[in-house]
């Protein structure tokens, strides 16, 4: 199931979706092109031989080394990585999708990177995407109601970004 044949089927069904994979990792994962994310998920949920009918979790990982000394040594590029954990209730198997985004859209600080929303595939994605938007700053295009969920609506910044700075005060409450 987790083997290369399934990957070939995904490649055939959704052209241009698969841009990389690691089948030997602890949790094998497939890297999906950001603009094909929703199409790939729709196929996985509705038409693939194994129906991934449930979205368990969306995580955004911010790859940025803020310490200049360490940053000179790291081998990876700064980026934002979305990790989708899918689950098939009928077959009891999981699948990990990854999606690499720039930290800011077009390299302009403050412009959120965009990825198509998967709320049309799994309705449960609604809150998960709101949380990723709230804490990591990713704009899910096509989401019906994308606003902050854990932080107050007027909060500034995206706390789970590595370069986030805690505000000094919030409505007269001391922050640090």
């Amino acid at each position: 199931m987790r083997g290369p044949s399934f990957l070939e089927q995904l490649r055939d069904a959704v052209s241009g979706a698969v841009v990389g994979e690691n089948l030997t990792a602890i949790d094998p994962w497939i890297n999906i092109a950001p603009d094909r994310m929703a199409d790939a998920c729709r196929w996985l949920a509705k038409s693939s031989p194994v129906r991934f009918d449930s979205l368990q979790c969306i995580t955004a990982v911010d790859w940025l080394e803020t310490d200049p000394k360490k940053a000179a040594k790291v081998s990876w590029e700064p980026r934002l990585e979305l990790v989708y954990h899918l689950w098939s209730t009928a077959s009891k198997v999981s699948l990990v999708l990854k999606c690499t985004l720039p930290r800011w859209k077009d390299g302009v600080a403050g412009q959120l990177p965009e990825v198509p929303s998967v709320t049309g595939v799994w309705r449960g994605a609604d809150w998960h995407e709101r949380e990723v938007y709230d804490l990591s700053g990713v704009w899910f295009t096509g989401h019906p109601d994308l606003r902050r969920i854990l932080c107050p609506e007027d909060w500034e910044g995206y706390p789970l970004r590595k370069d986030y700075e805690q505000p000094l005060e919030y409505h007269g409450i001391r922050g640090r």
Binding site: C57, R123, L135, C151, L160
Partner: protein, 402 residues
């Protein structure tokens, strides 16, 4: 005569047009199980829309986790689902062990099963008692807390804490059981078994309770799956899934050799391995009553598992081993693991850059997904049913807001 009719208040009432009204419920409402705020759009008694607002208990646990080593984060997992802190500890410990490819000793593994299942009983007791409270019945709450108190006493003896244990940790457990603990545990189970019948009388088969829960808030199978619901909420809708049987090998290996049947309705009946009351005729699969009942069955199931774990723990040789060092380095990579906690499937994801401090930690909360389905369940219900529906999901805000 006409003067008389105008003055009659009953007739004036027919003249008043009802308007939609926004009712704010919480965040300090007793039936919202913590700091949950629900905004209800109502027309008279009928609710047309419910919007949950969360985040009042947000403590940035994930951000804190990026600054601590794997073992130092254990106390923060305690404070997620604080009613089942042992299961939270176990979930995180197993996720780290999965990344490090570390195996605990056999004795430690049996002790973990024992403790985790014991904690499940305590958590379901709160779920049951508080649910009675939501529906206006006070005594079950006292009955449930009376027994839970004894479990907490045993936990206190084992690890020193009553709520936030940090007992199960990466690489094993912080201490072995004190002498005589097992016999006191067995004595509790013997005493507890007949009490469950009391609970069934007080709630499960109680006519008022059945009226308030049967056929209310029906969650269909497909909707439950699409929203990523898990645990008793998913099994209450008739989906046969329990990670202790269906999960990843590192987790299911713990339960190898343990006999238990998943508490789910299959072919029109629940597992027939023990005595329990019949399903009331008004109950529909997926309603509040079934979610509650699955929890009650799991209390009995966990008691069986604790008994088996006591035997296997006493029979296993060797020690429970030593927990990993606080600064033990993790390999580069990422790992995700879900475990079956009392509230549902709790997932922990960690990304490591090779140091002892994770690059990113993520907690996938079961209550978060279970609560997300509220607005679907409450559409068109009565205001009085809202606490019944939210209570049947058995949510804990500490886990949702993290």
């Amino acid at each position: 005569m006409s003067q008389l009719v105008d003055d009659d208040p009953r007739i004036i009432e027919f003249d008043v047009r009802t308007d939609e009204m926004l009712v704010n419920m919480g965040p300090q409402h007793p039936s919202t199980h913590g700091v949950l705020r629900l905004v209800l759009r109502t027309d008279g008694e009928v609710v047309s829309q419910v919007e949950p607002h969360i985040g009042y208990l947000h403590r940035s646990a994930e951000k804190i986790g990026e600054n601590l080593t794997h073992r130092q984060w254990i106390p923060y997992t305690d404070r997620m689902d604080y009613l089942a802190a042992m299961n939270m500890n176990l979930g995180w410990a197993l996720a780290v062990e999965k990344l490090m490819k570390y195996e605990v000793t056999e004795k430690a593994s049996h002790l973990r099963v024992l403790i985790a299942e014991f904690c499940r009983i305590a958590s379901h007791l709160v779920g049951m008692g508080a649910y009675g409270l939501d529906l206006g019945s006070f005594s079950p709450f006292l009955y449930a807390f009376r027994e839970r108190e004894k479990i907490l006493d045993l936990f206190e003896e084992a690890c020193g804490a009553r709520l936030t244990y940090s007992y199960i940790t990466v690489g094993g457990l912080t201490a072995d059981l004190p002498p005589g603990w097992l016999s006191r545990c067995e004595a509790f189970l013997d005493q507890f078994e007949p009490v469950i019948k009391e609970y069934h009388t007080l709630l499960t088969t109680n006519a008022i309770f059945v009226k308030r829960t049967a056929g209310i808030g029906v969650l269909s199978r497909d909707l439950a799956i699409e929203y990523g619901c898990s645990g008793p909420v998913l099994r209450g809708s008739g989906v046969d899934q329990d990670l202790r049987r269906d999960g990843e090998s590192i987790y299911t290996a713990m339960y190898d050799g343990y006999a238990f049947e998943v508490a789910v309705m299959k072919d029109g009946h629940y597992p027939r391995d023990r005595q329990y009351p019949a399903v009331p005729s008004d109950a529909v699969l997926g309603d509040c009553w079934h979610r509650f009942f699955v929890r009650m069955l799991e209390v009995m199931q966990s008691m069986d598992l604790v008994r088996q774990a006591i035997d296997r723990y006493s029979a296993s040789k060797g020690t429970i081993g030593e927990p990993l060092k606080l600064t033990e380095k993790m390999p580069v990579g990422d790992a995700y693991l879900e475990t079956e906690c009392p509230k549902g499937q709790m997932g922990f994801y960690l990304v490591s850059d090779g140091s002892a401090i994770p690059w990113r930690v993520r907690a996938r909360s079961s209550s978060f997904s279970n609560l997300a389905v509220t607005h679907e369940l409450c559409r068109g219900c009565l205001i009085a049913d809202v606490p019944a529906i939210v209570g049947s999901l058995d949510i804990v805000m500490g886990e949702i807001d993290r």
